[in-house]
């Protein structure tokens, strides 16, 4: 894999950055690719726009940020509106089924709509786990990362008393794609 550019976007507090870090850490552990993970967020702890970027490559990664994304996760209407123009037409888009698509012309070849927030709220019981549901779905869609690797990193990176809950959310997202 030459250079694969992933962008995870949403509102501050939704956990897009944590999901990006977990993905990058699992890729590091698997040790097949180089990885660079960056983020941008506002000074506020909740709300505002927030995004994480993960670049995966067999080669040395010079520019560490997304130029034209291969994969976009958008958790909010405004994140989709902002980042859809920078998604490759040949790329993939993962969105919550309720996210409003304004610019239909810009949609890429592959659009995956899943009830991210509904799964987190109704199935897992905590809407705050939406980022792990999305990460589970992404893991099922990516062929370069193993489910087990991500689970190990989740267990290490989330607060101890929430490991089970996060793993449950991750599995739910994963299963939704696989089944």
């Amino acid at each position: 894999m030459d250079r694969y550019e992933i962008r995870l976007s949403g509102a501050g507090g939704q956990g897009a950055i944590l999901a990006g870090i977990i993905l990058a850490d699992a890729i590091t552990k698997a040790d097949k690719f180089n990885v660079a993970q960056t983020q941008s967020y506002g000074p506020e702890a909740r709300g505002g726009a927030s995004k994480a970027e993960v670049i995966v490559s067999e080669k040395v990664i010079a520019y560490p940020k997304v130029t034209k994304a291969d994969f976009l996760l958008a958790l909010t209407d405004s994140a989709l509106k902002k980042y859809l123009p920078d998604l490759k037409k040949t790329g993939s888009l993962l969105i919550d089924e309720e996210v409003f698509i304004q610019d239909k012309d810009l949609l890429p070849k592959e659009v995956i709509k899943i009830p991210i927030f509904k799964i987190a709220r109704d199935q897992v019981g905590k809407i705050i786990t939406a980022n792990m549901v999305a990460l589970g779905a992404m893991t099922a869609l990516f062929d370069f990362i193993d489910k087990g690797e991500i689970e190990k990193v989740i267990a290490k990176r989330v607060p101890t008393d929430t490991v089970e809950l996060n793993l449950e959310a991750f599995s739910a997202g994963y299963r939704f794609i696989v089944e």
Partner: protein, 378 residues
Amino acid sequence: MKTEKVLLQGNEAVVEGALLAGVRFFAGYPITPSSEIAEGFSRRLPLVGGKFIQMEDELGAMAATIGGSLAGLKSITATSGPGFSLKQENLGFGIMIEAPCVVVNVSRTGPSTGLPTSPSQGDIMQTRWGTHGDHPAVVLAPSTVSNTVDLTIKAFNFSEMLRTPVILMLDEVVGHMRENVLLPAADAIEIIDRKRPDGNKANFKPYEVKGHDHVPPMPDYGQGYHYHTTGLYHDETGFPRGKSEDAEKLMLRLMHKVDYYRDEITLVEKKYLSDAKIAVLAYGSVARSAESAVEMARNNGIKVGFMQIKTVWPFPEKEVAELAQKVDKIIVPELNYGQYVREVTRAAGGMAEVIPLNRFAGQLISPATIKEMIEEED
């Protein structure tokens, strides 16, 4: 020896590099985007018998860092633009009394509180001239996470060797970025410790130079050497006499010690320059955009090369003059309104046309923007 790669943030890399270099004291006041450095030291230093202290503000943090150094410990502080401004007076004190230490500035967009979570290189001249009065400056600017580990170790080595504060200038991109890196093994890195006096305590003069390098040996406070420090110009005894001859002698020595080690501390990377007609010169995170842009342009057949300045101060006069002799044009992309480019223009001395490329609104310059300028100038 660790052979497993780890996912590390630039700020965490400062902590890892410093620990490998033997740091035992951190004094600071957390500020975005540098806070992970303070966090990291608060967890790690107690485990190796070191001390972490959160001070009341950045002035106190800089003072405490100098105090830690005088007590004999490798000491470090970390901040961002607003805090870096506050550290300037005591930084000058550290230069004057020759206290080796490392000051990290993870720069963000200013002036004032600016854009706290966005990158900038607007502090580049402040790292050179931030404190008042004539003074030498040694400043390193990494561009990758693994580079940050190496340059943090070097920052400590240079500060111990020169007996002067060394500034490590990251920017928000480098500080917050995570990359997979292989940490160097502790036995595979070179560590330099300050020269200490030979034990003759009776006639000890704290600022007496014996070697050729203009650097006086430095005792630790509490070892029994009588030792006075002052921000006033002083003679070899460390006491002020208010005399011009002392001022001249000390200023020359402060400058000459950095000149003496100039070749050793000048770190510059060159790539694709053998056939280049145009060069892109960059430092910090922008060096990564520049390298990508140069590679893209070369793929399109443009003869363009790349120079990354890792030791931004003292300015690499010789290296930039040689570059200017070689190429027709030098493009200098920077995350500011145009600062370092003026030094490049001066050092190029009319031998090459020097072209600025500036972005100052808190976003990293993209490779495409630099490539466009390369194509325009080709």
